[in-house]
């Protein structure tokens, strides 16, 4: 019993440490004060500012949020298609070839962001491509696709290898078998991959930083970075962070429920 209490205490202490800064931001998102840490009474003005565009830093923050979401959406969609097709291909490879492709697929995940960022920066410089929106999206696809591949591959190996053949056997052409049998089977993996890719893209700072060029393109991360280096933190970031925090929480709960259901289904 004693052991259990100690264990619980330890876990909650660690969690308190992990969440203290986030809670701190969340609390101070409900006050108007420009300076963090001074409480000037409850207010939802920062939230109002955020949604009506009356941000003290101009519309740059909202533009950054929009960019972030759009880039994540495009990158995740592309990665899902590319990664799924690739996973089917890799699943059907054998021996050395398979190992090589899987190794290549692991590189972007093993590389720290800065290496991915710098190397892609050099690539675009080398090819003489002017950097901006397109290069950022390409860069995001580069580090997102491996996660899609890794989400779809297990679905392929769990799948009864005869299912595709069964469809052919019953008269489906390869294209019909793909559409009616293979894709429905891979869908959970594709969705997981899409969500992973989407959040990876949202999270990214370093890669965007190196590949956005000088056209003034900002995502939320680069906006925060420049903002913080200027000294003063735009107060409206506080409600924004709080909202993101809640959204992630909801997303994770949804994913967990889905996974629980999937697990139960397998057990049955």
């Amino acid at each position: 019993m004693m052991k259990k209490v100690l264990a619980k205490c330890y876990l909650w202490l660690l969690l308190a440490m992990l969440y203290a800064p986030l809670l701190f931001i969340a609390v101070f998102s409900f006050t108007e004060s420009k300076v963090l840490g001074s409480w000037t009474g409850f207010s939802t003005k920062l939230y109002q500012n955020l949604f009506t565009g009356g941000v003290s830093g101009g519309s740059a923050l909202l533009a950054a949020v929009e960019n972030t979401l759009l880039i994540a959406l495009i990158a995740a969609a592309f990665s899902t298609v590319l990664g799924t097709v690739a996973a089917i291909g890799i699943h059907n490879l054998k021996g050395r070839k398979k190992q090589t492709v899987q190794f290549l697929n692991n590189i972007p995940m093993i590389n720290p962001d800065i290496i991915t960022g710098v190397s892609l920066f050099l690539l675009f410089v080398f090819l003489g491509v002017s950097q901006g929106y397109a290069t950022v999206v390409l860069a995001h696809i580069t580090f997102c696709t491996p996660y899609v591949v890794l989400s779809v591959l297990p679905k392929l190996s769990q799948m009864n290898p005869n299912i595709y053949e069964a469809a052919l056997d019953l008269g489906a052409t390869p294209a019909q078998a793909l559409r009616k049998v293979l894709i429905p089977e891979l869908r959970p993996g594709m969705i997981s991959g899409f969500i992973l890719a989407f959040t990876m893209s949202l999270d990214d700072f370093a890669v965007t930083f190196f590949t956005r060029g000088t056209v003034g393109l900002d995502t939320l991360s680069t906006y925060i970075y420049t903002d913080a280096r200027k000294g003063g933190l735009t107060p409206e970031l506080r409600p924004l962070m709080t909202i993101i925090f809640l959204l992630v929480l909801i997303l994770l709960v949804v994913i967990n429920i889905r996974q629980d259901r999937a697990n139960k289904k397998v057990k049955r």
Partner: protein, 461 residues
Amino acid sequence: MAKDYIIDIQHLSKSFGGVKVLDDINFYIRKGEFITLLGPSGCGKTTLLRQIAGFIAPDEGKILLEGKDISGIPPYKRPLNTVFQRYALFPHLDVYDNIAFGLKLQKLPADEIQKRVKRMLKMVSMTDYEDRSVDSLSGGQQQRVAIARALVNYPKVLLLDEPLAALDLKMRKDMQLELKEIHRKMGITFIYVTHDQEEALTLSDTIVVLNEGRIQQIGTPTDIYNEPVNCFVADFIGESNILKGRMIRDRRVAFIKHEFDCVDEGFGEDVPVDVVVRPEDIYFTTDPAKCQFTAKVNSCIFKGVHYEMWVDTDSGYELMIQDYDPYAVGSEVMLYIDPDDIQVMHKERTCNVFEGKMVDETHVEMLGAEFECLPQDGFAAGDEVSVEVRFEDVELLDHQEDGKLAGEVHFLLYKGNHYHLTVLTEDGDHIWVDTNDIWDKGDLVGIDIPKKGIKLSKRNG
């Protein structure tokens, strides 16, 4: 060609990565027949079935369906359907949609589809299960849905790839009867793949026994059981005593150091043969006039219907006997065998023969290694030679690294007083070994051949 052949397989061969999985397969299947491809795992039976279904293209040879070669036609255009080993039901579709899958692809009218699906569900006794998700079905129920899904398309031939392997024993027995019944009702040709000899004997009109990519024997279940053509078939189908023997003359054979009358003819005189005697065909007697040899009972185990006994014969061989009556361990018994029950088979080989090349006068290279041999006259370095090694001269060692060659025990037969092993070397060569030591299938062994065991002769040509 006879009219009632529905499938005719001619000179079919297939290799995977340089290994011959099927080697010149020839047989035909009559319309409406229940034929079983039987063999141990890795014998090529599933590859053969998948070639008929169209999932693998043959390297050589033809598959004729009603006289037309279908080997170039993709699986979705072949009028054949398959029941897969692990059913391969589509998990995202319910029972009804699984069965209707093929019919919907044919774009049949909805009411026709519904009629046919319902009929099939009734036939496999799954009428109330239409809306169930396939994940919620038991193994046996999934099996029924898989059979219905294939049969609803009215295929010309139904292919079944070990369909009962995943079921437990009781369920398997029930499904065997049901399959037989479905076959009778539908009148469709069934090609059935299994490694279970009992299942094959129960279900089939014809059995094709395969091993290592070759057809060993084709025949009715009784033919195959009573008259196996070689040691492999005799050992694989049922229990048997396989013994070294010698054909003295027509209708007279010697084994376990006794002579017996038999019914086989045409082997020649004084020819080494293999002899098979089924354990239920050795009889106990109290009449000294009938007694052909005596033995001492070594062990006696009750097996439900019969007793299984091991006896040591007066000539030093061990035999298995099945009888309804037990005999006490240690008792001396008198035994005889009917001439009808002695099955004589040609010996496949009497010693190992390898191709080799002289390195110098005391060394020969073969099987990818160099072996020392006794000093040879008349052989120069570089000469191509043929090397004979008697089975009993090959030595097997516990550790692979201790031998000249490394190998794996691939197949073993107990021949009454010694074991006859087939050892597969790492390069894929076969070496046959007679030994008194006990090995198991799959054991990794070192292989050595002492110099006095190597007998050389010039290779002609």
